[in-house]
Subunit: 391 residues, 2 copies
């Protein structure tokens, strides 16, 4: 099977945009992705995959073609992919398979979500409905509640503290304040976090990501295309994905996401890369506890070690392994269907040395980690900057 | 790129099943697909793709893992795919790419829909919402209305008659009456069709498919697996897909679906097969006019020739090229996300000589044609029975 490259990436600002639509946001992301590559035209794209949960935009079915056609990418195969908050992480996976299959040489993978428009029954109903239906959602549990249970379990089992959860927020807001596209681009102090109102104990407002509008898109290509078009070839060296019971109660553990663990193992094995090789990672911090679980599930530290790791500063800009340099879901924002592709946009900017005030010096290997629901699906990608595309 | 084979297929009955859920229906389809192959276990499956629009089941996000985990297929990558009524046709396309990519050897592709449970605002809202939003649905047009416009245009341009539309219904109900899994497994006469109440002029009740509950699943595999497990190797020789403007008003023509035409051209070219080589076809007859458009767009006859073709009996069982031997969407039923995979189930049964009273003698090459919305997406697959898997 042939190698696959990330050759371009773009995204809209993330935020609350009452004057934009799902289509215009997606078009902004596509425009930027294409602008990032000299001499690539819309008509060069062979196929596309679009991730969205669909809470906004009102185009409930067939929203993939609705956005690609509007963005001027016409007539090609377009497939909507959805795995809740991991929708566009999986869109990237599908794009990788399309290129590896030989059926396409240049593939667009992206996603969008419009979440701040809460008019209409369906939109309201959809916010937070990707949890398990019969035993969680209909019983009144929300995602905050489910992740709060995981946080409680982690605190009980490992002694993780509220301030360690808070350190995730302080770090990611600091990172996001350097990202002009972040939704909540302000900094915060530990005192701000401590005094925030409770959402679902032990999680408070600063332990939770916002609801956000936005879109992101990447261009994935065969080696021959990357050789011709990419100034800085970025190989997608590893891809891994796994499912699990959609309900938290269906799993053996509350202090790990087994799907993340399996997805990471696959990706590391495929790439022959280990967590010790990473220069940066974008992980799925929908809640502060989720970032701590990610450190442990991705092998960045031992189980139970995540609280101390974030407190040590090792995962902040300037540390050994900066995590969520974009600001993460917490500060950059979490437009559900756009999040996975947005993570890849950050890795692209970092590995091409275009990350401005948040640049990780000499970044060569990056990881993205995107979770659906409370862990019913996870997808991990590994990206590696090469000097040139091998012959 | 390596070849890909269809090695197993199964489906639930199609109908109205208030005592089943989206999960139990999907499990029935998976069970039957696995039973169709000796010595294949759930744990042998490497990856899965699940098509659904999501009108039923209430599991709005992450419904892929929700059904595969329930069906006992655990831990593997599962991706939900949605392109309205073409959801599981595209799931099959993704499965083909997964196998060709070398990332998986055995892939499940299926789909489901629960449509007859209309309790709840969301379910009601969703029925028929995959049309173009701003200019069609919110203006009051339904799918019946959009296809009625196509029927009117075809009648005006080519002289197609109401009885020619009716001949589609009479034929497909005759076929469906031989299919124990059909939703509307009764026969009808042309007089029944003529006297049916109008839905959207010129379409009446017998020109429209029902809303249906059901699920279908197929197993797609690499050559090495097919060589070991398939008694009758069925190669997926061609795959084609295309998008178009989601709104009918966005297209140049009302008498053709350009996406169908492009998808078919790709599939024929990849397979080096032409319409004259087909032994049978399952086409997307959501409305009678859609089957006539399919004849023309798939190259089975010239533009304008479809009315006469169906009247001649050539596309009935016993004719030159039987179309919709399963009963089609009209009689077998149209559980949106299950339809594309259900078409492949029929081709599998025909090419393995297991189609009972509706068997096409000596069938060797079959086609499936699955449309999303009113033509915003289309996907075509070509299946070919081989004597053996080539070395």
């Amino acid at each position: 099977m042939r190698d696959v490259y990330l050759i371009g990436a773009g995204q809209s600002r993330f935020g609350s945009f009452p004057d934009e639509t799902y289509r215009t946001l997606f078009e902004i992301a596509v425009d930027e992705a294409l602008t990032s590559i000299d001499s690539l035209e819309r008509t060069d794209i062979d196929e596309s995959f679009v991730g969205t949960l669909g809470v906004g935009g009102r185009q409930i079915g067939l929203s993939g073609p609705a956005v690609t056609e509007f963005a001027g990418i016409q007539g090609i195969p377009t497939t909507r992919v959805e795995n809740a908050c991991a929708a566009s992480g999986y869109a990237i996976r599908s794009a990788v398979q399309a290129v590896k299959s030989g059926m396409a040489d240049i593939v667009l993978a992206g996603g969008y979500e419009v979440m701040t428009d809460t008019s209409g029954d369906v939109t309201r109903y959809w916010l937070g409905v990707s949890g398990e239906t019969e035993w969680e959602r209909l019983a009144g549990t929300t995602f905050s509640g489910v992740y709060a249970q995981m946080a409680s379990a982690h605190m009980e089992r490992y002694g993780t503290t509220a301030d360690q959860l808070g350190a995730v927020a302080v770090k990611n807001h600091d990172h996001g304040s350097r990202n002009p596209k972040a939704h909540l681009g302000f900094t915060c102090t530990m005192d701000d976090v401590r005094s925030a109102p409770t959402v679902a104990d032990p999680l408070n407002l600063f332990h939770c990501c916002p609801t956000t509008d936005g879109a992101a898109a990447v261009i994935i290509a065969a080696p021959s295309v990357a050789r011709e078009l990419a100034d800085t070839p970025i190989k997608i060296s590893g891809v891994g994905a796994a499912s699990d019971g959609v309900g938290l109660f269906q799993r053996d553990t509350y202090t790990s996401l087994p799907a993340s663990r399996r997805a990471a193992e696959q990706a590391y094995e495929m790439a022959d890369i280990g967590p010790e090789d990473l220069d940066l990672a974008e992980v799925h911090d929908c809640f502060a506890i989720a970032e701590l679980l990610a450190y442990e599930d991705l092998g960045i530290c031992e189980p139970g070690g995540a609280g101390e790791l974030v407190e040590s500063g090792a995962t902040a800009l300037g540390g050994d392994l900066p995590v969520n340099t974009s600001g993460g879901l917490k500060s950059k924002g979490h437009p559900i269907g756009a999040t996975g592709a947005g993570q890849a946009v950050e890795i692209f900017e970092q590995l091409t040395n275009n990350a401005g005030d948040r640049q990780v010096d000499g970044a060569r290997i990056g990881l993205t980690h995107n979770v659906g629901g409370s862990g019913g699906a996870a997808v991990v990608h590994l990206f590696e900057r090469l000097e040139e595309v091998p012959a």
